[in-house]
Symmetry: C2
Subunit: 383 residues, 2 copies
């Protein structure tokens, strides 16, 4: 039969004709949305001729009522937006809805929103560029200290697989309501690392993103709990078990990856609850971390928790700073609800003369700041 | 200061009080939805007191109008549903919307829908169970045959990191409109492999899921093309370049993973376009694959494509079957639009006396079948 027998799927269009009309849906809408103008204003548009009211909600702001045209398309144009990653959703006759024209969706604890980027120098760090990419793995490890298998995400820099080099390790921790995946989504950590490394601003490093909720094996949807609703409420919540089991994570990483196994080759940082974890893990392991980052750290007076992890912090800090810390970095927004406890903590460090770097940004307890801090902190590591 | 200085983030509730009311949104709705009853009927419910009409769309069926109660909650209860993974969305006053109470979302080419499971023997294979889990990595590899870095997903079975064993490799290919991530989402491939291996029904194996769209570096959103709308339309589409560059993928995998480097240790299968790719890759490399699976393969008479990959198929098949194939597996739904070309292809194999296994299922060109075929094919491999 020879050439006559050449086989090939039909042209794309003809395939579609042959499938049911319902499958046309797979093509999605005609246009990606929203429309980002050259001046960095954004026009949201959604076709809803039968709706009585359509609103758009940008990030977590108040819903804004859109204007309907005669064709039933509702639009709203923003003011100029600074370069960043933005979330949004629509509200159609009182029902929160995602954009039917935009497949890019981000979960934030138990809510989901669409996303878009406003391009610019800072937000370019959050977007995949034409640079070498590191690999990202979902890794299950045994945690005998809490008696279960757990999952973490591990970024290895471009070139890791090709060489024999040993790399420094950055442990990057999430906040309350988060999990091992959130730095990769909301935080765009793989893109940030790829871009900072490619430009020479950061050294190649392994980034380990564990799950700080010890009552979870893995992020919601990725373990045997099924399709549970993500929550802030965890049975084991800031009571010492994550900090006291952190050695299980370090042991796995240092056994299975080519790492630098010394203080100058290890960093730990986290946001909110993860900043709290980073403070205590580094204070309890004063010989282990050369670099510590507290991003909007959840530092508050303790009530009703008994764990040796939290005892005698002052003595532990004395030992930590006596051993020496290459960088102790504190960042917080001037409108963060945790601003005052962070100020008090800085006063403690000041009183003892412990050196630290302090960055105060605008805004509150939000991903905008945590992405920013990541891009500021990473270039300071392992140099 | 000692104990007095113990620091801790406040209780969860007090943290929330301190944040803005907008952040209450992060807690999501009160209930996960939809409600799956004990008899496997499903009640969809959405609060929309201001809407004029609310519909629910199950998978790709026609939207069904829901009933409004006096409180403005719209409901609809299905008939008994067979155990499986289901997709759905609402339509509120004509606007397609996702379920504001359900964070579990799946993308299918350029549309997104919510998901749920109806539990049962078959669908239990698709859900994460309390069994050892394999790791899943997003891996960038160099593809000199197409002149770019590209991404694939690689599943390594539980225990891979702990031992020295060499494993067989199963190359699992997606269809038109898909990418390297789709077998993990729509196909639930990691869960299927975890569960089949844990129960002893499948042998531990590495599963490699490449991207079959040679004009992409990676899935939409994961490369420098930005937040593009996913599409069926690719510049390089079933014209030989994926098949002729497949050696780049195999070379990377066999160099960087502990693999069995012989025919009995390699399988290749794919759905639709991926079945077409599997047919031609295995025919062009007759010494490489002991196991071949064509899932609803896009087998159609060729028009207007010139590639040595597609020349002289009959001679290539003769060589492939002369070399010996442990398993040549063909599966298709009796309502698939590709049923006839698959029947013709089977007639060709029958005419030559080439042995193959044939499974005909109900239904059409849909993920329901491809998940099913995966669970039927994997237990037959490497035994």
């Amino acid at each position: 039969m020879g050439k006559r027998l050449k086989l090939l799927a039909g042209a794309c269009a003809s395939m579609m004709v042959l499938t049911s009309s319902a499958q046309q849906e797979l093509w999605g809408g005609a246009n990606g949305a929203p429309l980002i103008q050259g001046d960095n204003t954004v026009t949201f548009a959604i076709k809803a001729p039968d709706a009585q009211q359509v609103q758009v909600q940008l990030d977590y702001g108040e819903p804004i009522t859109m204007q309907r045209d005669t064709a039933g398309v509702w639009t709203y144009t923003t003011q100029v937006l600074p370069p960043d990653l933005y979330l949004y959703n629509y509200v159609v006759d009182g029902v929160k809805t995602l954009d039917p024209e935009n497949v890019y969706i981000m979960r934030d604890v138990a809510t989901v929103k669409n996303m878009f980027f406003i391009d610019g120098e800072q937000s370019r760090l959050y977007q995949a560029q034409d640079v070498p990419h590191g690999n990202v793995s979902a890794v299950w490890y045994d945690s005998p200290r809490v008696g279960k298998k757990r999952r973490m995400m591990i970024y290895t820099p471009a070139g890791y697989e090709q060489g024999k080099t040993h790399y420094p390790v950055f442990y990057l921790l999430h906040g309350s309501g988060g999990d091992e995946t959130v730095w990769l989504h909301q935080g765009q950590a793989a893109q940030v690392l790829d871009n900072l490394i490619a430009s020479g601003k950061a050294v190649p490093m392994i980034v380990v993103m564990p799950n700080g909720n010890v009552d979870e094996h893995a992020a919601p949807g990725s373990d045997q709990r099924g399709l549970v609703t993500p929550t802030f409420n965890h049975k084991q919540w800031m009571e010492g078990s994550f900090e006291s089991s952190f050695a299980d994570i370090m042991n796995y990483v240092e056994k299975h990856y080519r790492t630098l196994k010394n203080k100058k080759g290890r960093a730990i940082a986290g946001l909110s609850m993860g900043g709290f974890h980073s403070l205590y893990i580094s204070a309890n392991q004063p010989r282990d971390f050369g670099y510590v980052g507290l991003f909007s750290a959840a530092i508050r007076p303790m009530r009703g928790v008994e764990s040796p992890i939290y005892d005698n912090l002052e003595e532990k800090l004395a030992e930590q700073f006596k051993q020496g810390v290459n960088l102790y970095w504190i960042g917080i927004g001037n409108d963060d609800f945790l601003y005052q406890p962070n100020k008090q903590y800085r006063a403690l460090l000041d009183g003892k003369g412990y050196p630290y770097t302090y960055v105060e940004s605008k805004g509150g307890h939000e991903w905008r700041n945590w992405r920013l801090y990541l891009t500021q902190f990473v270039p300071l590591l392992f140099k």
